[in-house]
């Protein structure tokens, strides 16, 4: 029971990070039917930007509690902005011209973009792990039984709260604003959206920006949680988040969050109860099993009949 609760907390934290990244995959797929393989690397870059901001602010302001809070806030905001710019540029140079080309073209371009970004960061930042000093090590003890302490760390609380808040804002934008309506319209019928005066190119660009901003939140949280980032960090979390998007039903926003949570939980529980070496095998096996029985994913929408 104690182990279960503790792993649940850990799993939800990890799942929040995956869910945030998964939204970027699922939104882009929803609107242009393309898997943006560079999205994981955009997430990695966001963690680096956050790291640089964090180091810069703490170098100036010191390591007091207030300074760390300020540093994280600056890291989050700057990372969201810089990462959005990266994503916007990628869409502009690598994908837009290929729209309307054969389906594999943008996909291959995305893989190329992914390799480029990874190597760019390796050359620019070096191949070693980049750490930040340990922060927010305090935990809240929830309960104790037979010497096993169930605790939630401030970091975990921060991650879960920030994720919940941003998902709420994001949900509101997509469901209730003209921008979100235009996005959903483009997702369902681009030609009709254009006939109604929607600038489809701009809406797609905004979608890339929103996906990147959420990935930047994930990147900053990832850095806060693990305290370290390396140039190859885009790959495995990226693939996991993509898996989460597919598991939840690609194209579905609640599906992305649910899929992220499930992948996070499966991974954490498997590590705790079975073998940590096989945690990825477990996560991807669940994906395979779900897809065999529910090819649309858990919350995927069935194809709507075109009349």
């Amino acid at each position: 029971m104690e182990v279960f609760v503790q792993q649940l907390i850990n799993g939800v934290t990890l799942g929040a990070v995956y869910g945030l990244i998964a939204i970027g995959y699922t939104m882009v797929f929803g609107i242009i039917g393309m898997v943006n393989f560079a999205h994981g690397d955009v997430f990695m870059i966001s963690a680096f930007v956050a790291l640089i901001c964090f180091m810069a602010v703490t170098a100036l302001a010191g390591m007091s509690g207030g300074a760390i809070f300020l540093a994280l806030l600056v890291a989050l905001i700057v990372s969201m902005i810089v990462t959005s710019l990266f994503s916007w540029t990628i869409e502009r140079v690598a994908y837009r011209k290929l729209r309307g080309s054969f389906r594999l073209a943008p996909l291959i371009s995305a893989i190329g973009m992914s390799i480029l970004l990874m190597n760019f960061v390796q050359v620019a930042q070096g191949a070693r792990n980049k750490p930040i000093p340990p922060i927010m090590r305090d935990t809240i003890r929830l309960f104790e039984k037979d010497g096993f302490v169930v605790a939630i760390s401030y970091k975990q609380i921060l991650i879960i709260l920030v994720t919940a808040l941003l998902l709420g804002i994001f949900w509101y934008v997509v469901q209730k604003t003209p921008l979100g309506r235009a996005q959903r319209a483009c997702e369902q019928d681009q030609k009709m959206a254009a006939l109604l005066g929607i600038n489809v190119d701009r809406t797609i660009a905004v979608t890339f920006i929103m996906g990147a901003a959420l990935a930047a939140v994930a990147g900053t949280m990832f850095l806060t949680y693990y305290g370290v980032v390396v140039f190859s960090d885009g790959f495995v979390p990226g693939v996991k988040a993509f898996t989460a998007a597919v598991l939840g039903g690609i194209g579905s926003l609640p599906g992305a969050v649910l899929g992220g949570m499930l992948i996070g939980l499966i991974e954490t529980f498997w590590s705790a109860y079975f073998s940590i070496d096989y945690k990825d095998v477990a996560a991807f096996s669940i994906l395979a099993i779900v897809l065999i029985f529910m090819p649309q994913g858990l919350l995927g929408k069935p194809e709507v009949e075109k009349v």
Partner: protein, 245 residues
């Protein structure tokens, strides 16, 4: 047409449209004047819907020109054309299936940022009471007729000066068809809205029309007033046989 008459609101001149290398419109000339209801009839595959979409630049005409309100819109991006006061209820209705009826209508009003939304919502709900009952329902769950009403209502929500209707009667029960043609006549008469419609349901469409064109294989083969075409023996033989008269 007299020399003193105003320039047409919509002028299509020598328009050729291709799908890849296949020519769909082989040089089409059409005039639509302010306040008119202009009908185009023609068989399936004649190019009527292609013309409707070419006016909106999807696909763009490869040759010829399209002028709206004195402006050349031949190469203008589709979404900018929509901001000039042209609206279309397209072939296949194309309602957004996973949005509610209400949201579909909001989409229709997005060119003017929902400026007169409440007022116009009330108006289209009065025209189509069925939609009012279904405002919170997803459009994909509507029947074909209701979707057609929604597509027309959505086009009306932008308060267009020129309304393009592509087969508004397709697949509808005769009583609904009559109702929809009545709506077209009504918006034309009370609001002076100019209407250009494409129809296979030739009898009703010609009865409604100020002027009409016949399209065959990507070319205009005949034009005249609605009455003239209704009584033309060729039109009768080709489009009205076994029809509703």
């Amino acid at each position: 047409m007299s020399m003193t008459e105003k320039a047409p609101l919509l002028a299509v001149r020598g328009v050729k449209t291709y799908y890849g290398n296949i020519i769909a419109l082989k040089g089409v000339d059409i005039d639509v004047h302010e306040g008119e209801i202009v009908t185009m009839i023609g068989a399936n595959g004649a190019g009527k819907s292609t013309l409707m979409m070419t006016i909106f630049g999807k696909p763009q005409a490869r040759e010829g020109s399209i002028t709206y309100d004195g402006r050349d819109i031949t190469r203008m991006p589709t979404h900018e054309i929509a901001h000039l006061g042209i609206a279309q209820s397209p072939e296949g209705r194309r309602v957004f299936p996973r949005m509610t009826v209400f949201e579909n209508l909001q989409m229709g009003a997005s060119v003017n940022n929902l400026a007169h939304f409440d007022q116009d919502l009330e108006k289209v709900c009065a025209i189509f009471p069925r939609l009012k009952e279904r405002l919170q329902q997803r459009a994909g769950t509507l029947s074909g007729g209701e979707q057609q009403m929604l597509a027309i209502a959505r086009a009306l929500m932008s308060r267009p000066r020129l309304l393009l209707l592509d087969e508004p009667s397709l697949g509808l029960a005769p009583i609904v068809v009559r109702q929809i043609f009545e709506v077209i006549r009504e918006v034309n008469r009370t609001e002076g809205m100019t209407v250009f419609l494409v129809e296979q349901n030739a009898y009703h469409a010609l009865k409604l029309a100020t002027r009409a064109y016949v399209m065959v294989n990507g070319l205009i083969t005949m034009s005249g007033t609605g009455k003239e075409l209704l009584s033309d023996p060729q039109v009768k033989a080709a489009y009205l046989e076994g029809g509703h008269h």
